[in-house]
C-alpha cells in the first residue's frame, strides 16, 4: 500500500502549525478517507467537517496542496506515493479548529435573498412549466453549498470592508435561479445592486474554476444577472420579461 505524508494544519483562532502524519492509502481512497484514518489511529481530536462522502453535501471543503476542493472527491492517486500532501482549512472564513471554519457569513447572506414570489396558477389550479424553461434554473439548483466559490472570491477574501454589501458567487447563482424561475414575479433589482453588490464582481471566474458541480457560475449566472440588472432599470423591459415568462434569455 502506498504511504503518504499528510501535512495537516492543526490549530485555532489563536494560531497553529502543521503536523505531519505518515499514513497508508488503500486503492481508490480519497483525501477524506485518509483524514479519517488519521483520526482513528493518530489524532482522534482532529477537527474536520463531513457528511455524505459522496460529493453531495458540500461539507468537507478544504485546500489540498493549496487548491480548494472537496476532500471526499479528491483521490489520493492524484499524488505519487511518498508525496507530501498539505491539507489546510479554506482560508477565507475564520477558523474554528483544524480544518473547520466558521461559515456563518454564508447563512446570513442566505437569509437576505428575497424569496420566490409565486405567480397565480393556471385556471385548473396547477402550474405548468416546460422543461426547456426550467433547464437553466435547474443548473443552479445543483449547488451543494460547499462555499468553495465564496472561498476563492477576491471580494470576500480580500475586502473585509465590502462583505456587508456583497453576497458572493453562491448567492449570485441563488438569485439567478430565482430570477430565471418560470413562476417568479419578484423584482430584485435594488437588492442585487445594493445589498448583493453584483457590481463588485469583476468576472475573474475563479468561482467557476473551483465549482465541484461544474456550474457555469460566471457565464450562466453572474453575467446574465449583471445584464438583467442593467436592463431592469428600464421598467418596460422588466415588465415585458415578467409578463412573457423566462424564455429567450441570452445564453
Amino acid at each position: 500500500m502506498p504511504t503518504f505524508t499528510l501535512k495537516v494544519f492543526r490549530g485555532g483562532p489563536a494560531g497553529g502549525d502543521f503536523r505531519d502524519y505518515r499514513v497508508e492509502a488503500d486503492e481508490g481512497m480519497v483525501v477524506l478517507d485518509v483524514i479519517h484514518r488519521i483520526q482513528a489511529t493518530q489524532a482522534p481530536d482532529l477537527a474536520c467537517r463531513w457528511n455524505c462522502k459522496a460529493g453531495k453535501c458540500g461539507s468537507c471543503s478544504a485546500e489540498v496542496n493549496g487548491t480548494p476542493r472537496l476532500m471526499c472527491m479528491t483521490r489520493m492517486d492524484l499524488f505519487q506515493p511518498g508525496d507530501t500532501v498539505t491539507v489546510t482549512p479554506i482560508r477565507t472564513f475564520p477558523i474554528i479548529r483544524d480544518l473547520v471554519t466558521d461559515v456563518s457569513y454564508n447563512y446570513e447572506k442566505a437569509r437576505q435573498v428575497p424569496p420566490l414570489r409565486l405567480r397565480p396558477p393556471d385556471a385548473d389550479g396547477r402550474y405548468r412549466m416546460m422543461q426547456e424553461d426550467v433547464d437553466r434554473a435547474q443548473e443552479f439548483h445543483k449547488c451543494i453549498e460547499c462555499f468553495l466559490c465564496q472561498d476563492v472570491c477576491h471580494v470576500i477574501r480580500d475586502h473585509d470592508e465590502l462583505k456587508r454589501q456583497f453576497a458572493g458567487p453562491r448567492f449570485f447563482i441563488k438569485i439567478a435561479g430565482l430570477e430565471m424561475h418560470p413562476l417568479d414575479t419578484r423584482d430584485r433589482t435594488e437588492f442585487v445592486r445594493a445589498q448583493a453588490g453584483i457590481g463588485l464582481c469583476n468576472i475573474t471566474k475563479c468561482c467557476t474554476e473551483v465549482c465541484p458541480e461544474h456550474i457555469h457560475i460566471t457565464d450562466n449566472g453572474i453575467i446574465p444577472l449583471k445584464e438583467r440588472m442593467a436592463d431592469n432599470f428600464d421598467p418596460i423591459v422588466w415588465l415585458l420579461r415578467k409578463f412573457r415568462g423566462q424564455r429567450g434569455q441570452p445564453a
Binding site: A40, C52, E145
Partner: protein, 599 residues
C-alpha cells in the same frame, strides 16, 4: 458544582433538520408557536441530500390511472402487510399535495411534455410515480425546505448534538445538548419535542449512511420511556458501489433500473427472472421481452423483476454472488449502457455518471456498473400514533426514518421522501397544537441537567481508557457479520454478547484535546446511542422467528401468517430493554377490499 450552560425556550423543539425536521418546523411555525430547530451538522447538509431517485406521490401526471389507493396497496404489499395501515393510507393520500406544495415553494422538478411534474418508475410501484429532478431529488427537496424555512421565523441551532431529553413527571419538557464548535452544554426548554433524527446506519460497516446516522432519536425516545417497534427490519438496499473499497456503500439509485437498467451476473444473464417470489408472480414479467415492453406499456405488460421491492433484489444479488456468479469485486453488474443512449443516461442520471467517473474511473454510458447491497434504511423506530405522530410518552413526536410503522417490514424506494413531507408536516402541526394546550408550568429539573452534563464530559476527564473509534469499528464489524441480510439465532446471540461487552468498554472511553470541535469526543458520545440501537435491532431480530421484508432468518426461512399480525415492541424498564409482541392495528374492511381486487 453546577456547570454553566445556555438555556433556550421554545414551544416546539425539532431535533434534526433533514426533510422531516424542516417540514415539521415550517408547519409548527405556521401554527404561530415559537420553534427551535436543532441539527448536528450545518443547515442543508442532512442525509436527505443523499436521496436520489424521487418522491413517490400518486399525482397521476404520467399514468392517470394512478391514485392513492394504488399507492397505498403498493406500499402495504412492499412492506409485506406489516405496515401501520393508517400511516400508509395518510401517506398515500397526502403525498401529492406535499409535492405540489414543494413546487409552490420553488422546487423545480423535471417536467412532462405537458409541463407538469414528470414521474419515474421505481421498484414496487405499479405506475411511474416518483417526482424527481434528475437523480438529485433529495438535494432539491432539502434546499427548497431550507430556503423556505429560513423566512418563517424559526430559530435554527446548527452543529448542536442533543444528548438526552428532559422530563417533568411523565411528559417531555426539553433536551440537553452540546455545541460542536465550542463544546459548551446547552439546555432547550420545550413544551413539545419532535424527533426527526433519521436512522441508525452507522452501526453497520457497509452503509450508505453518513456519520450522523447514529440512532440518536431512537435512543432519546427509548431512554425517555417511549416504545420502539419493528427494529428488526433493516433495509439493505440492493445497489451500491462495491469498488474501490473506500467508496463501498455509496448509493446507486434505483432510478438506474427505473430508467431501463438491468442486473446481470458474470454470465451476462438477467438473473432477476429466477428470483420472482410467489407473492409478486401475478404482477411481475417472467420473460425479457415483456419486461422491456413494460417500460412503455404498463397496461398490457407486467413489471420487470429488476424492480421487485428492495429486499427481494438484495437477497437475489447475495445469492448470485454466493453461487460464484458475481462480478470481480464481489457484486453484480448493473447495465444501462447497452440499453439506453448515452445522452439519456447523462440527463437522467447525472450524479451517477459523475460519481462512477470520478471515484471509480467507470463511464456508465460505456460500461456496466458493479453494484452490491449495503445497509441503507431502518424501517423500525419510535412507535407513533398514525394521525398525530405522538409517541407513547406525552410531548414527544417523531417523523421520518426515526418513526416506525409506516413502511412495515420493507420500504419502497421513493416512499421515504414522501414520508418525510407527510409526517413531518403532521408532526409539526400536532406538536404545535399540543404546545398550545400545554397546561401548568414548563419545568426543567436542574438535577437531570446536571447529571447529563456530567456524563457528557466524562470521556474528557478520565485517565487511561479506550479509543472511541476502535469501539465504533468493532461494533460495525459485529453488526455487519452477525446482524446482516441473513440472520440466525446463534449469530444474533453472539452479537448481543459482543454488544454488551462493547457497552462496558464504552464506559471507559477517553479522549484528549479539549471540548472545541473534538471529533474524538463526539464519536465517544455517539457511541451511547449507536450501541443502544444496535442492541435493539439485534434483540428484535432474535425475537421474530420468521422471514419477512428486511428481516431474513436462515433458521426460520418462511413468512409466517401468525407473525404477520404482530409487531415486536421494545421498551426500557428498570434499565433493561424489554421485548414484547403486540398485535398490529387491524385494517378496516374497505381497505382490505383493495387487496382482493386484482392479482
Amino acid at each position: 458544582m453546577a456547570t454553566a450552560y445556555e438555556t433556550y425556550e421554545h414551544d416546539v423543539l425539532v431535533i434534526g433538520a433533514g426533510g422531516a425536521g424542516l417540514r415539521a418546523a415550517i408547519e409548527a411555525a405556521a401554527q404561530g408557536v415559537s420553534v427551535g430547530l436543532v441539527c448536528k451538522s450545518l443547515l442543508g447538509k442532512a442525509h436527505t441530500v443523499m436521496a436520489e431517485g424521487g418522491i413517490a406521490a400518486a399525482l397521476g401526471n404520467v399514468w392517470p390511472e394512478d391514485n392513492w389507493q394504488v399507492h397505498f396497496r403498493d406500499t402495504m404489499r412492499g412492506g409485506k402487510m406489516l405496515n401501520n395501515w393508517r400511516m400508509a393510507q395518510l401517506h398515500a393520500q397526502e403525498a401529492p399535495e406535499r409535492v405540489l406544495e414543494l413546487e409552490r415553494w420553488g422546487a423545480l422538478f423535471d417536467r412532462t411534455k405537458e409541463g407538469l411534474i414528470s414521474q419515474r418508475d421505481f421498484g414496487g410501484h405499479r405506475y411511474a410515480r416518483l417526482a424527481h429532478l434528475g437523480d438529485r431529488t433529495g438535494l432539491e427537496m432539502i434546499r427548497t425546505l431550507q430556503y423556505h424555512g429560513i423566512h418563517q421565523g424559526i430559530d435554527v441551532h446548527m452543529e448542536c448534538n442533543v444528548q438526552r431529553l428532559l422530563k417533568d413527571g411523565d411528559r417531555v419538557t426539553g433536551a440537553v445538548g452540546y455545541w460542536r464548535k465550542n463544546g459548551e452544554m446547552v439546555v432547550f426548554k420545550a413544551k413539545a419535542v419532535v424527533l426527526a433524527t433519521g436512522g441508525i446506519g452507522k452501526a453497520w460497516k457497509v452503509t450508505s449512511n453518513s456519520w450522523e446516522y447514529t440512532g440518536d432519536g431512537h435512543s432519546l425516545a427509548l431512554w425517555a420511556g417511549a416504545d420502539l417497534i419493528d427494529m428488526e427490519f433493516v433495509q439493505f438496499h440492493p445497489t451500491h458501489m462495491v469498488w474501490p473499497p473506500s467508496v463501498a456503500g455509496l448509493l446507486v439509485t434505483e432510478g438506474v433500473r427505473g430508467d431501463g437498467g438491468t442486473l446481470r451476473n458474470n454470465k451476462g444473464e438477467r438473473f432477476m427472472f429466477n428470483y420472482i417470489p410467489e407473492f409478486f408472480k401475478g404482477e411481475t414479467a417472467d420473460n425479457e421481452a415483456e419486461a422491456d415492453r413494460w417500460y412503455h406499456d404498463k397496461k398490457n405488460n407486467r413489471r420487470t423483476p429488476d424492480l421487485l421491492p428492495r429486499d427481494e433484489v438484495a437477497r437475489a444479488i447475495r445469492s448470485e454472488v454466493k453461487a460464484g456468479r458475481g462480478s470481480p469485486h464481489g457484486g453484480v453488474f448493473l447495465d444501462i449502457c447497452s440499453r439506453r443512449p448515452a445522452d439519456y443516461i447523462r440527463k437522467r442520471l447525472p450524479s451517477m455518471y459523475h460519481q462512477f467517473k470520478e471515484l471509480a474511473g467507470v463511464d456508465i454510458t460505456k460500461e456496466p456498473m458493479e453494484v452490491g447491497p449495503a445497509q441503507h434504511y431502518v424501517m423500525g423506530g419510535v412507535r407513533v400514533d398514525a394521525d398525530t405522530t405522538q409517541g407513547t410518552v406525552a410531548g414527544l413526536f417523531a417523523a421520518g426514518e426515526v418513526a416506525g410503522g409506516m413502511h412495515g417490514s420493507n420500504r419502497l424506494g421513493g416512499n421515504s421522501l414522501s414520508d418525510l413531507l407527510v409526517f413531518g408536516r403532521r408532526a409539526g402541526l400536532y406538536a404545535a397544537l399540543y404546545a398550545k394546550n400545554f397546561s401548568g408550568q414548563l419545568v426543567v429539573d436542574g438535577a437531570q441537567v446536571e447529571a447529563i452534563v456530567r456524563e457528557s464530559l466524562e470521556p474528557l476527564e478520565r485517565s487511561g481508557g479506550e479509543n472511541p473509534y476502535a469501539i465504533q469499528a468493532e461494533l460495525q464489524e459485529t453488526m455487519q457479520n452477525l446482524v446482516g441480510i441473513i440472520r440466525k439465532e446463534a449469530e444474533l446471540k453472539d452479537a448481543l454478547t459482543r454488544i454488551a461487552a462493547l457497552k462496558e468498554r464504552a464506559k471507559r472511553v477517553r479522549v484528549d484535546g479539549g471540548r472545541v470541535y473534538n471529533s474524538g469526543w463526539h464519536t465517544a458520545l455517539d457511541l451511547r446511542s449507536l450501541l443502544t440501537v444496535a442492541e435493539c435491532s439485534a434483540l428484535a431480530a432474535l425475537e421474530r422467528k420468521e422471514s419477512r421484508g428486511g428481516h431474513t432468518r436462515e433458521d426460520h426461512p418462511f413468512t409466517d401468517d401468525a407473525w404477520g399480525k404482530l409487531n415486536v415492541v421494545l421498551r426500557l424498564r428498570d434499565g433493561r430493554v424489554q421485548v414484547s409482541r403486540e398485535p398490529l392495528p387491524e385494517m378496516p374492511a374497505e381497505l382490505k377490499a383493495l387487496f382482493q381486487e386484482r392479482k
